[in-house]
């Protein structure tokens, strides 16, 4: 069976040597410097949590960079999802999302000395919004870069790919936020930190649906 002439001509007109995209893991590493910059800039541009020395180097810096690395792994999974024929299975998607949401909770669990440290009375909403805003805004540069990388492939389920890289970028931003915010009360953590990660997921899904696939 040979190709119709007009199709073959159209292909031939546009045919030139093409370099294939690098593997999703290698492409996700492009975001590594950005992830480091985000982790450092969130507390660096404001202030570090007051109990930095009490929690120790590993639980502060080690866990934050560990969380940022997990975010990059999730971005890599999203980039893999964006390649035709390499979509993630339902189990893998569920595991990735569950892992992404569990990591900040687990790190909070091993870092916090008590779960009753919160904003001063009457400032809960303001502080919650503050953390939400810092985290969500910090995630945007990584999210735009990830969206660009994913759109260079041809995602079959752009909304899903976007939600996944949104989750990854949300985790990266939260990794910086945990060096800045020492509150442990569940209401603040769920809204200001978890809410920002979920918002990054939703924003990623929306961005992925909007930007054209190449």
């Amino acid at each position: 069976m040979s190709a119709p002439k007009e199709l073959r001509d159209a292909i031939e007109r546009d045919l030139r040597p093409t370099r294939p995209l690098r593997s999703p893991w290698v492409r996700a590493l492009v975001l590594a410097p950005l992830a480091v910059a985000i982790v450092l800039s969130v507390p660096g541009l404001r202030f570090f949590r007051s109990d930095m020395s009490a929690i120790g180097f590993l639980r502060a810096w080690g866990f934050s960079f560990g969380q940022a690395f997990a975010g990059l792994v999730i971005v890599a999974a999203a980039l893999r999802e964006s390649i035709p024929g390499r979509g993630l299975s339902r189990g893998a998607i569920a595991a990735t999302v569950a892992l992404g949401l569990a990591i900040p909770v687990a790190l909070l669990g091993v870092t916090a000395s008590a779960f009753d440290i919160g904003p001063a009375p009457g400032q809960a909403l303001e502080e919650g919004i503050g953390c939400f805003r810092v985290s969500a805004i910090s995630a945007i540069p990584a999210l735009i870069a990830a969206a660009f990388l994913a759109a260079r492939a041809f995602p079959m389920r752009p909304g899903l790919a976007g939600a996944l890289y949104g989750l990854g970028c949300g985790l990266i931003a939260d990794a910086g936020l945990r060096l800045f915010c020492e509150y442990t009360v569940p209401s603040h953590v769920l809204f200001g930190h978890g809410g920002a990660i979920l918002a990054a997921m939703v924003f990623g899904a929306v961005v992925a649906k909007i930007i054209p696939r190449r």
Binding site: M1, D14, L15, G85, A153, F154
Partner: protein, 192 residues
């Protein structure tokens, strides 16, 4: 290990048919039209059957087959050398079908809206005739630049595929899509 050696190692783990498809795909990435011919020969029959099972319309399946190969061409850099070609090709075909289904849904809704608009002015005329004659639509169409209007009418009224439009007008498929899309956008703005 160099990337070429890795590709070679990947190919060695595949079955012979898939390994041959891999080497055709590599040739296609290198810019050889004969490699495209070989891929077309290997996949066209199977893909047509697959698309036919999805859409249950022989003409549409042929149209989707052409569009699938155009999309394969546009997305060829997403193929990872050394990996099986077949799942990659089928995933693209399925996505082309889904995109067509979505755009067909949008087109039906657009035509229904136009038909409803024209029924309000004269319910006795049939939908296509009314679309052509509707004053509002004609006025809006006049505001659309000629090249965009032509692509818009060929696709949305006469039902030509973008590949056919591109071949007829001597432009690229993407250009045909862009013209029709921009024309439709301008027409919508004028109809508001």
């Amino acid at each position: 290990m160099g990337s070429q050696a890795k590709d070679e190692a990947g190919r060695n783990t595949l079955d012979p048919v898939e390994a041959e498809l891999c080497s055709h795909m590599q040739g296609y990435l290198d810019g050889r039209i004969e490699a495209f011919d070989a891929l077309y020969a290997a996949f066209a029959g199977r893909l047509r059957g697959y698309l036919l099972s999805l859409c249950r319309d022989a003409t549409l399946a042929d149209d989707l087959l052409q569009e699938t190969f155009m999309q394969i061409h546009r997305s060829r850099r997403t193929y990872q050398p050394g990996r099986p070609v077949t799942p990659w090709v089928y995933a693209i075909a399925r996505n082309v079908y889904l995109m067509k289904r979505r755009s067909a849904g949008r087109r039906v809704r657009f035509e229904e809206a136009l038909a409803a608009d024209s029924r309000a002015s004269d319910g006795s005329r049939d939908a296509l005739g009314t679309i052509a004659e509707s004053d509002a639509v004609r006025r809006a169409l006049r505001e659309v630049p000629p090249d965009q209007r032509q692509a818009l009418l060929m696709h949305h009224v006469q039902g030509w595929s973008f590949i056919e439009i591109a071949a007829r007008l001597g432009i690229r498929v993407n250009a045909a899509k862009t013209r029709a899309f921009r024309g439709m956008k301008k027409m919508r703005e004028h109809l508001k």
